[in-house]
C-alpha cells in the first residue's frame, strides 16, 4: 500500500496545480461550465482517491469543497471572488495536509475548520450532508458462523441482463460457494425457437441453499441485479428437496489476450540525474576510445569505436529527452502569483501564456522559477500602473503580463512582457552616471541605456526603484540566468511596457560541439549555431587589407581570430580555417588553425574562480585527457565588439570583458584582451 500512497501524494499535488489554475481561470471566465467541471473533477479525485488510500482528513475536507463545486456545476451557486479566494485558501490547506502526510509538520486543523465554516456561509445553506462513511461494504460479509439453515431462492433476471454484462451462472456459482446448492431451471417463459432472441435471458431458477450465511449475505450476491430482477429469498423449514437440474452450459470463449499497456511510470528525478551523469561519463570514455582507435590503424577497432559512438549518441539523446519537461506546470503556477500580487497591489492584471508546451531540461526548469518570479514581481510592482493611472493614460484598466516560450536553435527563448509604463530611460541614465557606470558625455542609444539595468551594482541600489520604476535585483536575475548558461535582454517602449527575454540552453549537461584547435589549445563551439567552415589563406587576408573580413561566397563576414583573442603565441599556420557562426549580432566567423570535427561535449563547470568569465561557458575533457574550453559565440562577439569600440572612443562603458579579464586565472584568459579590429 505504501507505493499507492506515494502515487496518490504525487497525483494530489498535480491535481492541486490543476485546481488552482482552474480557479484562476474561473475568475476571468465566470460563466464557463467546463472550467467549473475541471475544478470539480480535481476535487472529486482528491476526495475519492484520498479516501482510498487512507487520507480521511484530506478526503473529508475535499468533500465539502466538492459539494460546493457540485452546486456551482448545477447552477445552484454562482462564482464569486470570495468563493475563489476561499477555494484557493482551501487548496493551500490541502497542500499542507499532504505535506503533513509526508512527515512534515501537521496541518492546522483549526484553519480547516475556519475554511469550512466560511464555505458553509458562502453556500448559504446548513451543511446537511455528511462526508461519505469510509469503506462501505458491498460484498458478501460471508457470515458463515451462523446456524446452518435452508433457503428457498427464486431468481429471474431481467431479459436484458445478459446484454448488460450480467452472467447469471456466476451468481449461481457464488451461491454454490456459500453452501450446498440445488438448482432447478424454469424454462416456462422460453419462447418458441423461431421467436427467441438469443441475446435475451428467458430463464428463471429455483434453488435450495443450505448455508450458515444469513439472508443479507445471500441478497448481497444479487446486489447488482436486485433492482431489475425477480428475486425472492425465503427460509424453509425441513426441506422438501427439489429435483436436481443440470446447470445449462452457456459459455463464452474469448480469444486469448496478453496485451499489457503501460502509459507511463514515475521515476525519481535523482535517478534520472544519475543516468545523465553516467551517460556523460560514457561519452567521455567513448571519446577516449575514439582517440585510441584513431591512433591505431586497426580497422576492426575503428569499426567497434564507431559503433559505440553511434550508440552513445542515441543513448545520450534518449536520456536527455527523458528529462525534458513542458513548461506548462511552471507557467501555470504563476497564475496564482499574479492573482495574489494583483490583490495585494490593487492592480488588475491578467496573465496570458503562450508556448507552454515548449520542453526544457528539468534542471533548467527547476532553476527558472526564481528568476521568473522576480521578473513578474518587478513587472507587477513597478511596471504596471494602477487601474486609474492606466485609464488616464488611455489604456485598458486591466494590465497584461504575457509569458511566452519558443524554441530558437539549441536555445529556448522565454519572454516576460508587460504593458505597463516602461522604463524611464533618463532616470536610468542619470543613475548610471551617478554610479560611474558611464561617463556623463557618453553617446548611448536607448537600448544600450536600458540594458544598463542589468549591470552589476546598478540595480542593487534600492533608491533607484522609486526613480526608474524598476531595477531591484535585475542583476540577481541575470546571475541566475547566466548560471544556466543563458542570457538576458531587456527592451522597453516608454508608455507601452517592458519585455525581458531569457535565452536558455535546452540542456545543461551535454551538447553537440565542434572541436577546433588553435596552436596547442583546443576549443569547442556549439554545433547548433555553426553554419559552415571556410578556408582563410594569406591571399585572402591581403585582399581584405588587414581587416578581419572573410569572403564567404561573395559576402563579407567579419571574423574574430581566436589566436589573437586568447593570445596564443605559437606560429600562425599558412592556412587558417574560419568557422561561420550565427550569433545574436548576425553572422560572425572565428578563425582557428584547424577544425577537428564534431564532438559530443560533456559540459563541466569551470568552478568559482571562473564564474565571471562570460565568453567561456564551461570546459570539457577530450579523449586524450586534454581540457578544451567551450566558447559562447554570442558573448565572444559582444566582447570583441566592446573592446573594438573601446579603442575607438575612449569614453567607454565599463564593460563585461574587462571584468572577465580581471578575474581570470588561466594563462590564456589572463590579462586584458587585445583589441579586435573589425
Amino acid at each position: 500500500m505504501i507505493d499507492h500512497r506515494q502515487a496518490f501524494l504525487d497525483e494530489a499535488r498535480e491535481l492541486l496545480v490543476e485546481l488552482e489554475s482552474a480557479l484562476l481561470e474561473m475568475d476571468q471566465n465566470r460563466g464557463d461550465a467546463e472550467i467549473v467541471a475541471r475544478a470539480f473533477r480535481a476535487l472529486h479525485t482528491i476526495k475519492g482517491s484520498g479516501a482510498m488510500f487512507g487520507f480521511d482528513d484530506i478526503s473529508g475536507f475535499a468533500h465539502h469543497l466538492e459539494s460546493a463545486f457540485d452546486q456551482l456545476r448545477k447552477g445552484q451557486l454562482t462564482v464569486t471572488t470570495d468563493l475563489i479566494n476561499l477555494s484557493l485558501g482551501a487548496a493551500d490547506q490541502i497542500k499542507k495536509m499532504l505535506d503533513a502526510a509526508t512527515g512534515q509538520e501537521a496541518a492546522d486543523t483549526s484553519r480547516s475548520e475556519a475554511i469550512l465554516t466560511e464555505l458553509r456561509f458562502l453556500r448559504g445553506a446548513p451543511d446537511a450532508e455528511r462526508p461519505p462513511s469510509p469503506a462501505r461494504t458491498e460484498t458478501a460479509p460471508a457470515a458463515e458462523g451462523g446456524p446452518v439453515r435452508e433457503w428457498r431462492i427464486r431468481f429471474r433476471p431481467a431479459p436484458e441482463a445478459l446484454l448488460n454484462g450480467t452472467n447469471p451462472l456466476r451468481l449461481l456459482g457464488e451461491l454454490r460457494e456459500m453452501g450446498e446448492l440445488r438448482v432447478q431451471v424454469d424454462t416456462a417463459a422460453l419462447p418458441p425457437l423461431t421467436e427467441k432472441d438469443p441475446e435475451r435471458c428467458h430463464l428463471a431458477w429455483d434453488m435450495l441453499l443450505e448455508t450458515g450465511a444469513d439472508a443479507a449475505a445471500i441478497r448481497d450476491v444479487f446486489i447488482f441485479v436486485e433492482n431489475d430482477c425477480e428475486l425472492s429469498i425465503q427460509p424453509v423449514e425441513p426441506a422438501s428437496p427439489a429435483a436436481q437440474a443440470p446447470v445449462p452450459a452457456a459459455s463464452e470463449v474469448r480469444r486469448p489476450a496478453a496485451n499489457s499497456n503501460t502509459s507511463s511510470i514515475r521515476v525519481s528525478a535523482e535517478k534520472l540525474d544519475q543516468l545523465v551523469n553516467l551517460v556523460g561519463e560514457l561519452v567521455t570514455v567513448q571519446a577516449r576510445l575514439g582517440a585510441v582507435a584513431g591512433r591505431r590503424d586497426d580497422p576492426e577497432v575503428r569499426a567497434v569505436s564507431e559503433e559505440v559512438d553511434r550508440l552513445t549518441s542515441s543513448l545520450r539523446e534518449n536520456s536527455m529527452s527523458i528529462r525534458m519537461l513542458p513548461l506548462r506546470a511552471t507557467f501555470e503556477r504563476f497564475r496564482r502569483l499574479v492573482h495574489d500580487l494583483g490583490q495585494e497591489l490593487h492592480k488588475q492584471v491578467e496573465l496570458t501564456v503562450e508556448g507552454a508546451e515548449t520542453e526544457l531540461d528539468k534542471t533548467v526548469i527547476d532553476q527558472l522559477n526564481d528568476p521568473l518570479v522576480h521578473l513578474i514581481r518587478n513587472s507587477m510592482d513597478h511596471g504596471i500602473e494602477t487601474p486609474e493611472a492606466r485609464v488616464a493614460a488611455g489604456k485598458s484598466p486591466t494590465a497584461t503580463v504575457h509569458l511566452s516560450a519558443q524554441h530558437s536553435g539549441a536555445n529556448v527563448l522565454i519572454r516576460v512582457r508587460d504593458d505597463g509604463r516602461g522604463l524611464d530611460v533618463e532616470a536610468v541614465r542619470a543613475r548610471a552616471i551617478e554610479q560611474g557606470l558611464i561617463h556623463a558625455g557618453s553617446q548611448l542609444s536607448e537600448a544600450e541605456i536600458v540594458s544598463l539595468i542589468l549591470a552589476p551594482g546598478f540595480s542593487t541600489a534600492r533608491a533607484v526603484t522609486d526613480v526608474s520604476g524598476r531595477g531591484v535585483g535585475m542583476d540577481v536575475v541575470r546571475r541566475n540566468v547566466e548560471a544556466l548558461r543563458g542570457s538576458l535582454e531587456v527592451a522597453s517602449i516608454p508608455g507601452a511596457g517592458v519585455t525581458v527575454t531569457l535565452r536558455l540552453p535546452l540542456t545543461l549537461a551535454i551538447i553537440d560541439g565542434l572541436l577546433v584547435r588553435v596552436g596547442e589549445a583546443y576549443f569547442v563551439l556549439p554545433l547548433a549555431n555553426s553554419l559552415e567552415c571556410v578556408e582563410l589563406t594569406g591571399r585572402d587576408i591581403e585582399a581584405a587589407h588587414g581587416n578581419h573580413l572573410a569572403n564567404v561566397r561573395g559576402q563579407l563576414v567579419p571574423y574574430i581570430r581566436l589566436r589573437e583573442y586568447f593570445r596564443v603565441t605559437e606560429e600562425r599556420p599558412e592556412r587558417e580555417q574560419v568557422m561561420v557562426v550565427e550569433t545574436d549580432q548576425g553572422r560572425y566567423g572565428f578563425a582557428v588553425d584547424q577544425v577537428l570535427g564534431d564532438h559530443q561535449t560533456v559540459i563541466k563547470n569551470l568552478g568559482r574562480v571562473y564564474r565571471n568569465t562570460s565568453v567561456v561557458s564551461g570546459a570539457t575533457i577530450l579523449g586524450n585527457g586534454t581540457v578544451a574550453l567551450i566558447l559562447d559565440p554570442n558573448r565572444l562577439v559582444q566582447s570583441a565588439i566592446r573592446s573594438a569600440l573601446r579603442t575607438k572612443s575612449s569614453g567607454a562603458i565599463q564593460s563585461q570583458d574587462a571584468n572577465d579579464g580581471a578575474k581570470n586565472g588561466t594563462q590564456r584568459l589572463q590579462g586584458e584582451k587585445r583589441e579586435v579590429v573589425l
Partner: protein, 136 residues
C-alpha cells in the same frame, strides 16, 4: 507450466488464459491500485485515462471494464453508453467506481447498462470480490 488440452471435458480455454480487465480512471493512483491488485490475482490489466481513451482500447479483447464516473473528455456514463452501443463489445460486464453513493448517479449508470458498481473508498478485497463475481 500448465499443459493445455482441449479435449472435451477438460478445462475451458477461457479459464486457462488470463482475462483482460480495462481500468478506466483519470486518477493514476486508483488505476495503479486496481492494476496491482488485479495483476496479482492473475488478470491482465490495461489502463485508460478517460472514457475516450477507453473506447480506443476496447478494440482488443476485454473481459471486464472497471470505470470511474467523473472523468474529463468522456465520463463513465458516456463510456458505458458507448460500450453498450458497440456490437463488438456485447455483454461485457462493466463495473462503475463511484464516490457518489447517491442513488441518482448509480441509477443513471445502471440505465446506461452498467453491470455493477463499487463505492469508493473500497479495499482490494472488495475489488477482487466484485471482479470474481462478474468474470470469475
Amino acid at each position: 507450466m500448465q499443459v493445455l488440452t482441449l479435449s472435451p471435458g477438460s478445462m475451458r480455454l477461457e479459464e486457462v488464459l488470463s482475462k483482460v480487465i480495462l481500468t478506466v480512471d483519470d486518477s493514476a493512483s486508483v488505476r495503479q491500485m486496481v492494476k496491482f491488485t488485479l495483476s496479482d490475482a492473475g488478470y491482465t490489466v490495461i489502463e485508460a485515462v478517460d472514457g475516450k481513451d477507453a473506447l480506443t482500447k476496447l478494440t482488443g479483447p476485454v473481459n471486464l471494464v472497471i470505470t470511474d464516473l467523473n472523468m474529463p473528455n468522456l465520463d463513465g456514463i458516456g463510456l458505458i453508453r458507448g460500450v453498450r452501443a458497440n456490437p463488438a463489445c456485447k455483454g461485457i460486464p462493466i463495473v462503475m467506481l463511484t464516490t457518489e453513493s447517491q442513488e441518482s448517479r448509480k441509477q443513471e449508470g445502471r440505465q446506461a447498462g452498467a453491470t455493477g458498481w463499487i463505492v469508493k473508498p473500497f479495499t482490494t478485497q472488495q475489488l477482487l470480490a466484485v471482479v470474481k463475481r462478474l468474470i470469475g
